[in-house]
């Protein structure tokens, strides 16, 4: 690596990062991939660090991925779930954080239902704060792992045409992808029912497709978002059946594409709604590689926020071999 990139205390989103920051995060993730392939999946990089995974919303994949990343770097971790004691008792976010802080912690990984919650916390406690998804705002590590996966399977992100398909309005994954991909020089589009596409989205610099066929004709990569069942109840779409018929990513639609399209999905999938099983399990799907890459990306984030030097990532990993 040639550029010297400084990371701040926190990672609350990709919007505020430069392309150098993002590239560094992806580059640092590379050497960390290998740790998870070892028989003994542990290096001492974060030994002695205490990390709290503070999850106000249910999450399996992201929480487990962070936890593996933390444990494989030898950090001590504690998980607090939204259904647990003090949160249910009505303690507010700041007080919860201050109490954790009082027990001397080093990092907080937070998942919260309100947009801006990660930044709110980051401004109020001295620990590093990592956003694991805040409301409809950002999910930066998901954006990074999506980009790492795209990079792994293409000639690079710059110039790549990536279309995000589905519920854009309510999606933090969409926002993190948009910021990150644009910064790395990709062309980005969104596609979904107009009720689920924000009015001002074009001003962020993305194309908008009304029909999924147009998106498929245009794209090199489709990132297919999960359709939350609540959206149907809230009247954004009339039915799941209709959604699948007009916006579902199906084999029949992909066969008409002028090129092979890489298929991503942040999970968990509604098979038969936004994505057909044959697509999800098909030859161009990289959905499980995304999950694998998620651990490496989160290791990179933890390492860099803890003060690790990008240049020494490979070396510090090697120090872990006993």
């Amino acid at each position: 690596m040639t550029t010297k990139v400084e990371f701040g205390k926190d990672l609350t989103g990709l919007e505020g990062l430069s392309s150098e920051h993002i590239t560094t995060l992806l580059d640092v993730a590379e050497p960390f991939k290998e740790i998870s392939e070892r028989a003994i999946k542990k290096v001492p990089i974060l030994r002695g660090k205490t990390i709290v995974n503070l999850f106000y919303e249910p999450s399996t994949r992201t929480r487990v991925s962070f936890e593996f990343a933390e444990k494989r770097l030898s950090a001590d971790t504690v998980n607090i779930a939204g259904s647990s004691s003090s949160i249910v008792k009505g303690e507010n976010l700041v007080d919860t954080a201050r109490n954790l802080e009082a027990m001397r912690i080093d990092m907080v990984v937070i998942r919260h239902g309100s947009s801006g919650a990660a930044q709110f916390l980051a401004e109020r406690i001295p620990s590093n704060v990592i956003n694991a998804g805040d409301g409809q705002h950002e999910h930066p590590t998901q954006g990074l792992l999506d980009m790492l996966t795209i990079r792994d399977h293409t000639d690079g992100i710059a110039g790549r045409r990536v279309c995000i398909v589905g519920d854009i309005v309510h999606s933090r994954v969409a926002r993190s992808n948009i910021w990150g991909l644009l910064k790395l020089g990709a062309e980005v589009a969104v596609c979904g029912p107009p009720t689920l596409v924000p009015r001002g989205i074009k001003e962020l610099g993305v194309h908008v497709f009304k029909r999924v066929e147009q998106a498929i004709e245009w794209a090199d990569v489709l990132n297919v978002l999960r359709l939350q069942l609540e959206r149907m109840k809230a009247g954004y779409i009339p039915s799941l059946r209709e959604y699948n018929r007009f916006f579902g990513v199906s084999v029949a639609r992909l066969e008409r594409a002028p090129r092979d399209i890489l298929i991503l999905h942040p999970g968990p999938m509604n098979r038969g709604v936004e994505i057909d099983s044959h697509v999800a399990d098909g030859p161009h799907s990289v959905i499980l590689q995304q999950v694998t890459n998620g651990v490496a990306v989160r290791m990179a984030v933890l390492y860099l926020l803890a003060g690790g030097s990008p240049e020494r990532a490979e070396a510090s990993k090697a120090e872990g071999r006993s």
């Binding site: 919007e15 507010n92 239902g113 947009s115 930044q119 409301g135 933090r172 001002g200």
Partner: protein, 439 residues
């Protein structure tokens, strides 16, 4: 009775009589006695040198939330009325969305009596349109007026049943009071916490489109036309609303409108960083909207400035953006923001600004203040139009501090306020013999 007061040598501005001259102003027995050059001093009068200062009718705020009864930790009638005079307001209209709401004559009487007991600004109660602010059953509007209400409103919420609004706007004709409308289409604003636009998209916050205001204001104007009732639109914030109000005025509909200092000056960019002190309803809009409401205020399409003073306790605002309440305080910053942005900014001269802060709002609600004609109530503000000062919320007399202007330099500051001829706020110190320029 208080001693007579002679304000000597100030720039006396009273747009209601096209007055803008360097004069003395004599206040006797709670009334304006005389304005003139080198007035004789009654023996017992207190003489105050206000050279270099503007002497104007005390400001009139049609739109204030005082939080009492129910949320006295945010503001009381007394603390709000005191904050008002610190900002140069001598009359304020207290909105009825307290807990319980001001929806019966006893509650109206309580607000009125507490206001009188506090002895700062005149506090004029606004009665609820609907019982419990529920938008269903009309309150005893006649009884509310008899008890002292000067207008009716369900502010904080729209009256969304068009039938109820029609009956209300028709019925108020009997009592010659206006309906103060918080115009919002709840189906269009549902769940929103800020302006709907590129900033809300970037922040992942749910947006309230301009259409939520525009559609409701259009409906309200049409019902005002149908009934002949007097409609006053609260806190206009969009360019579309300006066009609708202008069109209604052209047709002769009895409609007036107000705009807040913050909607005249700030855009939704102020929300970035999830700043809850920039969260209010209607939300801060785009630059095009700010420009349109400024033009409308200058041209008179929007009649007056009102603060929508909405105190909240810091711990209610110091939280996740979605969960923080709407509203900011405004009484103590209104003059400084308006002089800086509108007068120094070259959009209005001082008489035009005073007309929009004092004369017009008094006319709209039929209040006795808002002028310095002989015999008018001696409700007077003295302010330094050039003083630059830093907005420090910890110095507010309001019990709440939630302002987006904290730390900003403002221009124009109140030095003294008199209500019924009594000095109720005084930063002048004893200026009887002091030279000018005292801070």
């Amino acid at each position: 009775m208080n001693r007579p007061i002679l304000l000597r040598g100030g720039r006396v501005i009273d747009p209601s009589q096209q007055l803008d001259e360097r004069l003395d102003l004599l206040l006797v027995d709670g009334r304006v006695a005389q304005a003139g050059l080198a007035l004789a001093v009654p023996d017992i009068a207190q003489v105050l040198d206000v050279a270099g200062m503007v002497v104007a009718p005390g400001f009139v705020d049609l739109h204030v939330h005082l939080r009492e009864p129910g949320d006295e930790h945010k503001e009381t009638i007394a603390s709000g009325a005191r904050a008002a005079v610190a900002g140069g307001f001598t009359s304020i209209c207290a909105m009825p969305n307290t807990r319980p709401p001001i929806d019966d004559p006893a509650a109206v009487g309580f607000v009125r009596a507490e206001g009188e007991r506090a002895g700062f600004a005149h506090v004029y109660p606004v009665g609820a349109v609907s019982v419990g602010l529920e938008g269903k059953e009309m309150t005893e509007i006649g009884e509310l007026v008899a008890a002292g209400a000067v207008a009716v409103s369900d502010d904080g919420r729209p009256v969304w049943d068009s039938g109820l609004l029609r009956r209300t706007m028709s019925y108020i004709n009997a009592f010659d009071i206006p309906y103060f409308s918080h115009s919002e289409d709840p189906g269009l604003s549902a769940g929103g916490v800020m302006n709907d636009g590129p900033v809300s998209t970037a922040l992942g916050l749910r947006g309230i489109p301009n259409a939520a205001e525009d559609a409701a204001i259009a409906r309200d104007c049409i019902i005002a036309e149908l009934t002949g009732g007097q409609l006053h639109i609260l806190h206009v914030a969009t360019r579309g609303a300006v066009e609708i109000i202008q069109a209604a005025k052209t047709r002769g509909v009895r409609v007036t409108a107000e705009v807040t200092p913050h909607h005249l000056t700030l855009t939704d960019e102020a929300v970035r960083g999830y700043r809850t002190e920039a969260k209010m309803n209607p939300p801060l809009r785009s630059a095009a909207d700010v420009s349109a409401v400024r033009d409308a205020l200058v041209e008179g399409v929007i009649d007056c400035i009102a603060t929508d003073h909405a105190p909240h306790h810091y711990e209610d605002k110091d939280r996740e953006f979605d969960d923080a309440p709407f509203g900011i305080v405004g009484l103590e910053t209104a003059l400084g923001v308006c002089v800086k942005e509108l007068v120094v900014g070259g959009r209005l001269d001082l008489p035009e600004l005073i007309s929009r802060l004092a004369c017009r709002p008094a006319q709209i609600a039929g209040l006795p203040g808002g002028k310095l004609a002989e015999g008018s109530p001696a409700d007077v503000v003295v302010f330094d139009p050039e003083e630059r000062w830093i907005c420090r919320p910890e110095e507010f007399l309001s019990l709440s501090r939630n302002t987006p202007f904290a730390g900003e330099q403002l221009v124009g500051r109140v030095v003294m306020t008199m209500v019924d001829g009594r000095p109720v706020f005084n930063r002048l110190g004893d200026r009887e013999a002091a030279p000018s320029g005292v801070r």
